[in-house]
Amino acid sequence: LAKTTQPISMDSYEGQEVNITCSHNNIATNDYITWYQQFPSQGPRFIIQGYKTKVTNEVASLFIPADRKSSTLSLPRVSLSDTAVYYCLVGASERGSARQLTFGSGTQLTVLP
């Protein structure tokens, strides 16, 4: 499974756009990139998944360059409730594969008023 590297922590202010970048230099051809959000004392929650270029949903956008060695999660206009740990995962998790996901240490995002 591809190893991922993310910043340990980030601070932002309410209303700002936040970009969290993840490095995954040894990503495999079949690997997808998935981001999860976790609040204290809760399980991780799926945010977004992509394979290449750009993916957008109602919560976030995911930017993946052509070489796929990194990806950026973009959260528009964050609020205090977006304070959480964000995990970047890389693996063959498309279409509900039973193969395990490996969670890294994640990025603690703190949104300040």
Partner: protein, 112 residues
């Protein structure tokens, strides 16, 4: 809304006890997983199951066993609880029809 339900949010057990952690999903998912989460170590996979009565070891299966007698239920068993099994335990599921994993809210187990 899809749901993974773990039977207990908090549990305190004594060393040597047999402990059962139950997980139920209502989404007809084929795959179910048990993770434990510890500060500084992230989430680590204990066991997973891709079908009824099927199971596969994850990264840290020692001291644990699992049971999947019905599609919707996946149980984690600590045969003889030890203090180093004090942790947050998370159950998850997914299916061949979707991309994401759905996690339960977790069970915080303390072994004293």
């Amino acid at each position: 809304d899809v749901k993974v339900t773990q039977s207990s949010r908090y549990l305190v057990k004594r060393t040597g006890e047999k402990v059962f952690l139950e997980c139920v999903q209502d989404m007809d998912h084929e795959n179910m997983f048990w993770y434990r989460q510890d500060p500084g170590l992230g989430l680590r996979l204990i066991y997973f199951s891709y079908d009824v009565k099927m199971k596969e070891k994850g990264d840290i299966p020692e001291g644990y066993s699992v049971s999947r007698e019905k599609k919707e239920r996946f149980s984690l068993i600590l045969e003889s609880a030890s203090t180093n099994q004090t942790s947050m335990y998370l159950c998850a599921s997914n299916s061949i029809a979707n991309y994401g994993y759905t996690f339960g809210s977790g069970t915080r187990l303390t072994v004293v």
